[in-house]
């Protein structure tokens, strides 16, 4: 197992590549989910305001 992670002495380069790639993909997905959540939160605020306005 340790040998696998050592990558024949190239561990830094190989894991550096794979790690940064995974990081970039995860960050992209997280950013997108946050964008969507913000959008929905703003919408729910808006619809609450509208229904309150109707109630009053």
């Amino acid at each position: 197992m340790a040998e696998f992670f050592a990558m024949g002495g190239y561990a830094f380069y190989v894991w550096g590549s794979f790690g940064v790639t995974v990081l970039a993909l995860v960050v992209e997905v997280l950013l997108l989910r946050r964008r969507r959540r913000t959008l929905l939160r703003r919408a729910s605020r808006m619809s609450r305001k509208v229904s309150m306005g109707v109630g009053a």
């Binding site: 990558m7 024949g8 790639t21 970039a24 993909l25 992209e28 964008r35 919408a43 729910s44």
Partner: protein, 247 residues
């Protein structure tokens, strides 16, 4: 069939369809990526010349392919948007750009990490790497132009035109850079040609490339859904959709 396509080219019809497709592509991307990584890191044998450092190609090559394909697809969407004046294709082009830029960055990053043990330098003015760098600039230009224009319709059309011009220029730039590189006798070993391609390596790379496609489609669909809702917030269907989902 044709009727169906036109139906889905309108944002209100496309939005739920995209929502249904996302989980499938995301799941396919995850499964394929796991298989690809297993093939690339475990099954594929160590290269006798480069040792294990060559395993970077399982990321690098698919990322480089994606960076170019995405630009091309983006330009096609932009062209459709300009010619037929459809909103959705503009949104799609916009939704692909950040992912394309990210894959370009990954290709550059892994190229540098591969170059250090192989060429002894983090950066070499190799034709492919240099073209990739210029491609990154093209992506950044597209994204900046889109962001700089306030009116969404002008933004989509102007940056779409830029994407088309860029796509026409990419081959010219690539051949210029390649020619320049051979003239100045740059690095001659290239990342893709380096190891003698064993069948397992090729399989691993292909699986990773398909995984990258699925990932790109899933992410682009997620982004286009946000884009549609943000742009069309004032239309009735989008407001209803938002209200339904916000609950």
């Amino acid at each position: 069939m044709a009727v169906n396509w036109f139906k889905y080219s309108s944002p209100p019809a496309f939005y739920p369809l995209a929502g249904r497709l996302i989980p499938w592509f995301a799941a396919a991307a995850a499964v394929l990526a796991l298989i690809g990584i297993y093939v690339g890191l475990v099954v594929a044998p160590t290269d006798y010349q480069q040792g294990d450092s060559y395993r970077i190609i399982f990321i690098h090559v698919p990322a480089a392919w994606m960076s170019m394909f995405i630009y091309l697809v983006m330009a096609v969407y932009a062209g459709i948007g300009l010619i037929f004046n459809t909103r959705l294709s503009g949104y799609m082009a916009r939704a692909l750009a950040p992912t394309g830029a990210m894959f370009t960055f990954i290709a550059l990053w892994t190229g540098a990490l591969w170059g250090r043990p192989t060429w002894g330098a983090w950066w070499v003015w190799d034709a492919r790497l240099t073209s990739e760098l210029i491609l990154l600039f093209l992506y950044l230009g597209y994204i900046s132009l889109y962001a700089a224009i306030d009116d969404p319709r002008r933004a989509a059309r102007a940056s779409g035109l830029l994407a088309l011009i860029g796509a026409v220029n990419v081959p010219i730039i690539y051949f210029s850079v390649k020619w320049w590189n051979t003239l100045h006798q740059g690095a001659s070993i290239s990342l893709t040609k380096a190891p003698t391609m064993a069948a397992t390596m090729l399989t691993g790379m292909m699986i990773m490339a398909v995984a990258a496609w699925c990932y790109t489609i899933a992410v682009a669909l997620m982004r286009v859904r946000c884009e549609i809702l943000e742009r069309e917030v004032h239309s009735e269907w989008a407001a209803e959709q938002l209200a339904r989902e916000a609950r």
